[in-house]
């Protein structure tokens, strides 16, 4: 990848089956995590309380990013909402395991699986 093409963090979101899916691509660290935090806050402020964060294209995640996800979960739970994750990458899953956060988040293999699981819980 040429240097000028490097994108540290790319964020997008769309609605699927009544759930807001946040697509994250790139690196979530102390520099970029505030942008994800702002997006999650914006979504909650706009009434989206059922969130799925798709991390399949995340190349790096540190504790700052974990903190943002936990903060997002706390915000949606305040509205009886949910925040599930989609992630199959071992290097990303490892940090969730080290911190014990696998017990806090629902972590799924695909967006469809996350949505189906969420709907089944309702």
């Amino acid at each position: 990848m040429a240097l000028e093409e490097f994108v540290d963090l790319k964020l997008d979101h769309h609605t699927k089956d009544g759930i807001e899916v946040v697509d994250v691509e790139g690196e979530i660290d102390v520099y970029t995590a505030p942008r994800l935090r702002e997006l999650l806050i914006e979504l909650v402020n706009n009434g989206f309380y059922q969130l799925v964060v798709n991390m399949e294209k995340v190349e790096f995640l540190d504790s700052t990013g974990l903190g943002v996800l936990v903060g997002g979960l706390k915000r949606v739970r305040a509205h009886d909402g949910s925040l599930d994750l989609v992630c199959t990458q071992e290097r990303i899953l490892k940090i969730f395991r080290i911190t014990g956060l696998t017990k806090v988040f629902g972590i799924h293999d695909t967006v469809d699986e996350a949505i189906t699981a969420r709907k089944a819980e309702k």
């Binding site: 540290d8 690196e27 660290d29 102390v30 520099y31 995590a33 505030p34 935090r37 806050i41 790096f60 540190d62 504790s63 700052t64 974990l66 903190g67 943002v68 936990v70 903060g71 997002g72 979960l73 706390k74 915000r75 739970r77 290097r91 490892k94 940090i95 395991r97 080290i98 911190t99 014990g100 956060l101 017990k103 806090v104």
Partner: protein, 162 residues
């Protein structure tokens, strides 16, 4: 004498650069490919908390990293000057930021593999980052110095590749 020394202005944007340099030197030192992700993450965590400490207490001071390859180990030492403003381990960066949701994360920390952080605080209150480092690095020492906090981490390395 460190193989590579890096010092950088305490800006979050520079943490990525520090990670990349550390990973590159680790690879050259012969650290197993399977461990490079751990090196990258642990160095990133150490630099992140150092940057936060410096931004709070001594923004004009650079964060320093020393990367050393010796005796079959690749060692990383991240030194901050946060204690100049009273940071130390007790004031370690609130890694989760304003949005931490400590009640949620705290419940998970009880089961974290990291356990107590040697020489200082433990759990999320004083740095999820430190817990991550403790869980990642093959060998880690966290100590307070006269000027701040020093985090030393090391991994096995097969030797310098020329």
């Amino acid at each position: 004498m460190p193989t590579v020394e890096v010092s950088f202005t305490p800006l979050p944007a520079h943490v990525r650069t520090a990670r990349l340099v550390a990973t590159a030197v680790a690879r050259r030192s012969g650290v197993d490919e399977a461990l490079l992700d751990e090196v990258r993450l642990a160095v990133g965590e150490a630099c992140s908390r150092a940057v936060e400490a410096h931004r709070l207490y001594c923004p004009a001071e650079p964060v320093r990293i020393a990367l050393t390859d010796s005796a079959g180990r690749f060692e990383v030492e991240v030194t901050d000057a946060g204690a100049a403003g009273g940071a130390g381990l007790a004031g370690a960066a609130d890694d989760a930021g304003q949005d931490s949701g400590r009640d949620l994360a705290g419940s998970a920390a009880g089961g974290a593999a990291a356990g107590p952080v040697p020489g200082g605080s433990q759990g999320l209150d004083h740095g999820l980052g430190l817990a991550v480092i403790a869980g990642l690095a093959d060998d880690v020492q966290i100590s307070e110095t006269a000027g701040g906090v020093r985090i030393r981490m090391s991994w096995p390395a097969v030797g310098l590749q020329h």
